[in-house]
Symmetry: C2
Subunit: 142 residues, 2 copies
């Protein structure tokens, strides 16, 4: 992949292919857990801090609430999460992890660190952390 092509300097190209490489590294590690990377992202989301409704979770991930319904369905089918009617507002469903969901979350996050480490291996530890920090600032727009 001779990379002095103009198209390879486009930020869009670089972001897309960094994502593709990360997925190639991570998905084989998730497969033994019976989940995908997107499903693990949900476990990380709902396993972190106070219980969230589906819509609150969707807002934090930047996805549509209808997309969230399908994702929660998948995890519920695997018995990794439960939907619970929110006390105080019976329209809302709080999503909480089952004991098995919590186990998968912990293992999955460990495995994510391995995959991210492999992706960032060409960078030193300092540059890797600077890359993550720079992306963070860009995404927050600050």
């Amino acid at each position: 992949m001779s990379s002095d092509l103009a198209v390879h300097r486009r930020l869009g190209y670089l972001l897309k292919h960094a994502q593709l490489r990360l997925a190639e590294l991570a998905e084989p590690l998730y497969a033994p857990l019976g989940i995908t990377g997107r499903q693990l992202a949900l476990l990380t989301l709902f396993g972190d801090g106070p219980a969230l409704s589906q819509q609150e979770g969707a807002a934090r991930l930047g996805i549509d609430r209808t997309t969230m319904v399908a994702l929660v369905d998948e995890l519920e089918d695997k018995e990794l999460v439960r939907r619970e009617v929110a006390p105080g507002d019976r329209r809302k469903r709080l999503v909480t992890l089952t004991a098995e969901g919590e186990r998968v979350r912990v293992t999955g996050e460990e495995v994510t660190r391995q995959a991210e480490g492999a992706l960032l291996a060409p960078l030193g530890e300092g540059d890797a952390e600077r890359l993550r920090a720079a992306l963070h600032r860009v995404v927050r727009g600050e």
Copy 2:
């Protein structure tokens, strides 16, 4: 978007949302040119250096040759590129830019620099260049 959530530190989340933000910034600027970002990427690819066949182009973008067929169809319909039978191998189609395609490419690349500049505005010029260099190394895996 309170960003001390664990899910917001996932590299997958950061790469995806950096891409989404870039698309939000860039697509409105491409629209007056009558093209999308993906179409401009093809103009940049085929307008750069010696003429490439569809399959050579697909390899450089990391996409399937069947996907390339549809993308070239779009640009041909807009009369921004032409397919030419390769001299010496009549199976191959060299993709070349029309005069109009070349004009759109030049303007599009200028506009891309604006959008990328807006995305990277939170970073200083040095950090912006380091981010691009780090992504480049990660994508090349070196």
